[in-house]
Each structure stands twice: as C-alpha cells, then as structure tokens.
Amino acid sequence: MKKLLCATAVAAISAAAAQAEDIKIGVILGFTGPLESITPHMAAGAEMAMKEVSDSGKLLDGSTVTPVRGDSTCVDAAAATAAAERLVTTDKVNAIMGADCSGVTGAILANVAVPNGVVMISPSATSPGLSTAEDNGLFFRTAPSDARQGEVVAAILKDRGIGSVAISYTNNDYGKGLAESIQRNFEAAGGKVTISTAHEDGKADYSAEVGSLASAGGDALVVAGYVDQGGSGVIQAALDTGAFSTFVLPDGMYGTVLEEKFGTSLDGSFGDVPGTDSPGAATFVEMATAAGFEGTSSFTGESYDAAALIMLAMQAAKSSSSADFKDKVMDVANAPGEPIYPGELAKGLELIAAGTDIDYVGATAVELIGPGESAGNYREYEFKDGKITTVGFR
C-alpha cells in the first residue's frame, strides 16, 4: 500500500509538471461474454476519440493518448476486477473508459477505481443502483440510469395502447433494475404487469420460462435481457410456442442480429435504445463509417463521449491526474459554454486552453445530471418488414 501511495504521488507530481506525456486510458469492456458482439464497436468509438485528440496534439502541450484494453467479461466481477487492477497498477492508466455491464462496473468502482483514486466513465452501465454508489466523485456515466429508461418504456407502451405486459429479465443488476423501473412506471401509468420473472443467460432452452410467462399472459412481452444471450432464446421459445407475438426490446436487446435471426416474425415489435436526433449523432455515424465500424450499434456514441469527456476534463484541469480532473468532468459536459460536437475535440481543447467555457454535446447530446449520469435521450425503434426502423426520439 505504501508503495502504491508513493507511486500515485510520484505520478501526480510528474503529471502536475504539465509536460508532454503519454497518457494511458483503460478501455474495459466485455470483449468476451454476453455483450461480445457490440463491445468491439464501443471500443472502436472510444479509441477513435483518443486518436482524434492525439493527432491534434493540443492536449496538455502535445500529450498523446494511448488506449489500453481490458476484458470485463460483463458477468464475472472477479475477472473484471483483476483486469482493472492490472490496468491501474501495471499499465498505470490515468482513467478508465468503462466498464460496460452494471454488475462489473460496480465491482471495479468499489474495488479498483475508488481505492486507487482513478476516474471511471462508463458508457453503458445503466443500473439505478450505481446512482447511489460510494464513488468519491470519481464515477460518471454517459449512459442514463435505467430509472429513466423505465419511464420511456412505460410511455411508449402507453402510447401504443398496450394495457398489460409480461416481463422477462436477465438475472443480474441491469435486468433486475430495468424490470423494476419499467414495472413501477408502467403501473403508475395505469398499466398491468402480469408477471416479472428472471431468465438465466447461457442456457439452451427457455421453454419452461416462456411457459410461465405465457400462463400469466399479457398483450406483449418485455424482454429486458441481452441480444447475444438468453434474450434471444426467450424470443425464440415464445415465437415457437406462439405464446407472444409482440415484444418490447429495451437497449440490451437492440441489435441487427435480431433481423438476421428472426426476420419478419418480429414485425410489430418495438423498443428503445439510447440515441438522439442532435446533429452530433449523425456526424458521429459518418465518422464511424469512415473509420470502419458500426456507429449505430448500441453505446458506441456513449463510448466516444466517455473518452472525450475524460480528455477534455484533463485539459480543463491542466493535469492528467484523476484527483485533479475529476471535478472538471461535469463542467465540460454541461452548459453553459460553446457546444462541441464529435470531430471537434481539437476545437474544444483549444477553447479550454484559451480559457473559454465549453459544453460538450458529443454524439449523444451528453448532459450530466445528479451524481454524474446522463439525463438520457432515447430512440424509439420498431420492426417493419424484418428491418429495424426508427420511429422517433424521446
């Protein structure tokens, strides 16, 4: 511990000297596990922001930023903690962009980020529980809490005239938090939740789960799970047995994989995914396409924004040390100030250096509220002729 303190102190002193340095930012995402199909795009988003800043040469007198990847596995808290520990103690990262799933994010925050005093910005951890987690001001997220998503889902259900739903959620912090939030908001709006029950990820067969969901009935089935895991299995079993034909698919279930897997049989199903119609979103998708990854995949914009916020805050604090720049994150993210869109990070860095206040809008119209989490903009989508189409923004 003494050594660690020394090392941190030395790092802090050398950082304060404000010379061009090689700043390392950890990218901890579930490169294996239930989110493995979307995490490569998320990492690419974050790394694109880092490259943009490094190439500009405007961060802290020409410092460069290097990403260091770590695998959160999404589900295994011990493995995620070990990966984060390695990044912080061996690779000496200045901040962490991650983690992805709520459970592992909470574990890394409590076991690694807070003890070592490292800033952590998660692009996709959405559990309401993280709003009240002990974080010493080190934890932020560019994704909104599921408490907000619950309101949105309930509103969409209400607008579509759906009176009763059954809920099946993945058995972890994310699924449970989201399911409870949807249920609370939907019931407050006068809807009826016939059953809310968990499914375990990674099983071959979900017919038993669907059996009890079908028995409870409902106009639609809300699947608060993961698209690569049990969520798809539940949909498959429900379609096979004819138990449900309309599905409500929150953010974890958003993915083009569904189009390939189920085709037109999902027509009429709908859902929501964090997204915005702010001009930044379109710019980001163009940049992503040019860089060769899917900018519309879940949480890629949030990942870019998370990385960008870390670097802008460093610039504002004139230091790459977490202890210094943690207080600046909210400042650069929120109004007032000059709006900064994706691709304009160099401009943002310049403005900050010149002492002008900025309001980072980014790809997802970031506005951090409360304990440092995104206020939340959602894109409502539905399946039409076997394709995901955007209905509107909320």
């Binding site: 499914h199 375990e200 409870a216 299995g233 096979d240 004819g242």
Partner: protein, 336 residues
C-alpha cells in the same frame, strides 16, 4: 370448449416439451447406465461425449450441405449421424485403450474410475471447444414445424395455439426406434446376451468363454452411439453450445439413478420422470386452471410451485429422495 383449451395449453407448454426433453434424457441415461452396468463406474465424461459427438455431426452436416445433399423436410443432421457416431466411437475406443484399460487391468476401485472419467471429461470438453468453438450453433434445416401455433388456431378455432416442432417429433420418433433397437440387441443377439451376462456376473461370464475386451469395446461403441444421437437430438431441438452438455450431466445422472443404475428400462422411465417433474414443478398452472375451473374459482396467483430458476433443484431433489429411500432405484438397479 374450455376443457379443450386447457388440454391444448397443457400439451403446448408441458407435455410436448417435457416428452422431447425426456426422450433426450432417456437416451443419455441409457448410455450412462450401460457403462455403469458393464464397466462398473459412473462415466462423468458422458455429457462431453455427447458434445463431442454432436460437434462431429455438425461438421459432417456442414460438409453434406456443402455438397448440396439435403433430406427435404428432415434435417440433414440425421444423414450425418452415422459419420458422427463413427468418429465418436473411435474417440471413446481410443480413450478406453489409452486410459481406462490401464485402470481396468489394475482392478482399480470404481471411485478411482469415476475420478479418471472426470479427467477425461475435462479433456473432451477442451477438445470439443477447440474443434468447434464455444458459440451457439444452430444446425437444423428443413421444415421447422409440423404445425405452428398460428396454423393450429386457424384450423381448430380454439383460443390457444399448439406448436409442434419437427425437431420434437424427430426426437421422440428417433428415441423410440433407438430404444427398440437397443432392447432387441441386448435380448436377442449373442453379443447382447454376452454383455448382459458380463454385467450380471463377471467371473461366470469369463468362465463361460466370453471375451471381455470384446464386450467392453461393443459397450463403448453403443454408448458412443447413444451419446451422439442424444446430443444431436438435443442440439437440433434447442441449440448446440458445448457448455450446455456439461450442464445436462446432472439431469442425466438423476434419470439413470432414479430408474436404477444398470437397468436400461429404468433409465428410460427415469428420463421421463425427471423431465416431467422439472417442467411440471416449474410451470405456472394459472392458465390451465382458469380454463378448467369455474369463473368464481379462477386463480389470481400464478399457481407456480417454484420459479423456473430452480429447475435443476428438481433434479437434485429427486436424486436425493431416491437415494435416501430407494438406493437401488425404481427398477432395482445396482445400489450406488
């Protein structure tokens, strides 16, 4: 009309899924029970033998599909089965040669063989993943449904749909054929009879001139065949994922022990008993009850004995109850 709806719901969500799951468990349990009866140890590698066999079948299915061979409405995997069985049989015979024979010659205690089989299990587990990967693989083709829920509703005008997938039909039919063939083999052929003799009393069998190595080899081949067929049916019906077969081990052993280890008939009964209990205990009976009972008695609660999360707990509970009260199983197998 309401009784009909209740019946259809019951068939759709309980009877059909449980019957096909039961058939898969029964085939798996038959393999376990054969090994136990003749080689006298619990083969923990059976689940992963199933995974390996299925992986082989998938590879041959892809090869056949690549050649443009199709079975029309039936899945191509059925055609690939014999190839898969051959490779799997070769693997288990090699394993027997390389591993088990050494311990057999030493007359090792059954518990040592059990541990040895666990080692084999981990190796097979790794080999399977190495060959085919860890992802979920769907390899069914042909017609997906015998009848879909929508068609059934239209045909009968009932409020409830009944879906019958072709893989479920194939599972049940194949299981019946395989079980019939196995019983014919064990009861009518010379080799089958010598296997039963070997199982009943090893010393007497040896005295009467039965070649033990031959009996052992035939047993392994049959076990490999059963494992591959059970694994392929499970994979067709659900989806192939190497890890899932490892999880199947518990219900399979529960089935074999409930029926009585060493008793083929018991393995089949055990398979269906475990499958129907797992599905029945975790099913929410509300819908069926609403149809059957008069309106005044219609239930508000789900009428679910336990949440579906506890499915495996049912296998465990059955296993423990049987071991406590009837250690030889329902069909008087060997005591564990």
């Amino acid at each position: 009309m309401d009784l009909l709806n209740a019946l259809v719901t019951l068939l759709n969500f309980v009877v059909i899924p449980a019957a096909s799951y039961g058939a898969q468990l029964a085939l798996g349990a038959l393999g376990v029970t054969l090994i136990y009866g003749i080689l006298r140890f619990s083969n923990f590698a059976h689940g992963d033998t199933m995974a390996f066999g299925t992986a082989m079948v998938i590879l041959f299915t892809w090869w056949l599909q690549g050649m443009g061979v199709h079975l029309g409405p039936l899945p191509t995997a059925l055609l690939a089965l014999p190839f898969g069985i051959a490779v799997t049989a070769a693997l288990v015979l090699f394993t027997d040669r390389a591993v088990y024979r050494f311990y057999r010659r030493q007359k090792a205690a059954p518990v040592i063989l059990v541990i040895v089989s666990m080692g084999v299990m981990f190796i097979m587990n790794g080999v399977t993943r190495f060959i085919i990967g860890v992802e979920e693989i769907r390899f069914e083709d042909g017609e997906r449904f015998v009848i879909t829920a929508g068609e059934f509703k239209k045909m009968t005008g009932l409020a409830e749909g009944l879906a019958f997938r072709s893989t479920q039909a194939i599972t049940i039919v194949t299981a019946i054929i395989v079980v019939a063939a196995l019983f014919w083999f064990l009861n009518r052929t010379r080799t089958g009879k010598s296997m039963r003799a070997f199982s009943d009393n090893e010393d007497l069998a040896l005295l009467s001139g039965i070649n033990p190595e031959r009996v052992v080899a035939v047993t392994w081949i049959i076990a490999a065949g059963l494992a591959t067929i059970a694994g392929t049916l499970y994979g067709l019906d659900k989806a192939f994922k190497a890890f899932n077969y490892f999880q199947l081990l518990l219900p399979i052993f529960a089935s074999a022990i409930v029926g009585g280890l060493g008793s083929p008939l018991g393995a089949i009964a055990g398979g269906f008993l475990v499958a129907f209990s797992e599905v029945g205990f975790t099913y929410a009976w509300k819908k069926v009850a609403t149809y059957v009972l008069p309106d005044s008695l219609a239930p508000d609660s789900l009428l679910q004995l336990m949440s579906t999360d506890y499915k495996f707990a049912v296998s465990f509970a059955i296993l423990i109850i049987v071991l406590l009260f009837k250690p030889t199983g329902l069909f008087q197998g060997k005591s564990v």
